[in-house]
């Protein structure tokens, strides 16, 4: 079983954002990211694991792989956990390609940058800016 120290570490995952990281983003790009955000929040469940540190891992794993897929990179899935992230990333990448035609005209770097901003936004919504008081509970 996980020791006490480890649990404390889970509870004290570092904060990344103290305000909406997309507050300053220009409206056109903000709207594009908004489309993606809306899709995730309405259709996905992976961003809602019950603890903050867990959400951090999920968001990074899935959105990281989504960016790789959209940018046409190879995605490694050496562990079952990463494979599971990859599964959700594949689904998300497909949806984004279908819903966000503007992605087609973007370079790999641009895509990575957009998904990076989306990642920051999802982290803000579900972790750093969340009002959920149970995110920092130490055990499941």
């Amino acid at each position: 079983m996980a020791g006490k120290e480890k649990n404390v570490a889970r509870a004290n995952y570092p904060k990344l954002y103290t305000s909406d990281p997309l507050a300053e983003v220009e409206p056109e790009l903000r709207a594009k990211i908004g489309e993606m955000e809306n899709y995730i929040m309405k259709n996905c469940l992976w961003q809602f694991n019950s603890r903050g540190w867990d959400r951090r891992t999920q968001n990074a794993g899935i959105l990281g792989k989504t960016a790789q897929l959209l940018a046409g990179e190879e995605v490694e899935t050496p562990t079952p956990m990463e494979k599971c992230h990859w599964v959700d990333a594949v689904m998300l990448a497909r949806e984004f390609r279908e819903r966000c035609a503007w992605l087609a005209g973007m370079s790999g770097d641009e895509i990575r940058a957009v998904i990076g901003k989306l990642h920051a936004r999802i982290d803000w919504l579900t972790i750093d800016g969340s009002l959920n008081q149970e995110l920092t509970v130490q055990n499941y």
């Binding site: 929040m41 309405k42 694991n49 867990d54 079952p80 689904m91 919504l125 969340s130 959920n132 149970e134």
Partner: protein
Amino acid sequence: MPYHEFDCSKCIPERKMHAVTKGAGEDLTSCLPLGYLNTIPGTISERGCAYCGAKHVIGTPMKDVLHVSHGPVGCTYDTWQTKRYISDNDNFQLKYTFATDVKEKHIVFGAEKMLKENILEAFDAFPHIKRMTIYQTCATALIGDDINAIAGEVMEERPDVDIFVCNSPGFGGPSQSGGHHKINIAWLNQKVGTVEPEITSDYVINYVGEYNIQGDQEVMLDFFKRMGIQVLSTFTGNGKYDDLRAMHRAHLNVLECARSAEYICDELRVRYGIPRLDIDGFGFKALGDSLRKIGLFFGIEDRAEAIIAEETARWQPELDWYKERLMGKRVCLWPGGSKLWHWAHAIQAEMGVNVVSVYTKFGHQGDMEKGVSRCGEGALAIDDPNELEGQEALRNLRPDVIFTGKRPGEVAKKMRVPYLNAHAYHNGPYKGFEGWVRFARDIYNAVYSPMHQLSALDISQDAIPGDTGFMTRRMLSDATLPEAVRNDPSMRPYTGAFDPIAAIRAKTDYPEFPRRSAIEAAE
């Protein structure tokens, strides 16, 4: 903050932060009610207790088990025959319940001796059942009976039996959710890893957080079998005790109701490295995506696609028929915990209804995060609602239909709001493609009931139409539909059977997929 203050709760200001209205531009950083906090006494909350959360919700759907409650007889009686979690062994777990029947003398002198007699008696009465769960109750927790020790004694004396003990007294936590947690962890600690299963497929899952309400689990198992996936266990609907002891051997945990069963998935991930994949069995898109994801994980996505194509072709015309007729209907989605997020978006996207309110009676803020996200603007979200708040909300929102529990459904009835049972369903199952159409059909039948229309008429004051001897649902639902939609040949109302589960149980023609090892050997 978009908190919603009910007039009826102005005198208990701590309630104010338990309801929000999702306004334009609101998101989870500004719009989320408090949740899973101690109930305010005397509010007439709808919450139950942690014993029921453990025994009634999660333990009892296990089908090949004697379910014993150690306490006075009431806890047992009250949590017996009030659910529709069926099983394919003639519903043994629905039919039989066991109480140790603790009396005053046991409270004074202890009830461990009689507990042991009870256990032996129960096994003797049902000699073909060798598995037992024992649930602590308030009374036996307070007198401090050591149930684990007694269970251990019996298991030593009778090596062919196995007993699981769940210590989750009714007062443990703000709601039944405390019991969900306790039984998850207790099962994991006591039982997982104590049986080694026979692995028959390259693709092995546990199906977790699924309770086989009106056959939901059997519908989903049908899909998994068609994909050649071995479902090692279901936690816990229609589930077998020994199968659930072997959960540690799955490759993937497919999680349906995260509210009640995420704990065991999360710990299986930590302890055994089995990943957790959250799915939604409700709604064509969500279910299709769920099957695709499982297919992707195992590299058999084509098998999922084949099922989705077949089922969609069969059932989409029927779902669409209802969607046209349910468009814009106002829904209060007031279930217990997980349905508020399982259904909120899917019924809007696929049935055209408008969810004007969600509530959770025992859920946590995590459930509300999902629920609020999946609702549209203007939706009222309520945590731990109480009787007066529910009535006030119904008066203000004037929904066309409400999905809630049996008793709150009676309150809605009196307020002239048709109700569907969100926990036990009206005429389910509601999972699966056909199930989703059945749900739409049930909503339609409720909303367009001619009797509902008649209930509005005050014969002492209103003009009595008197021009017709009857109305049908379609006369009501199609009155304002465009001709093209009304007679669209690509759509039709539900054509399935009263009991779709019987056909699934009778099925034998599942495809056989050779194991990878066999293919490799052949090459």
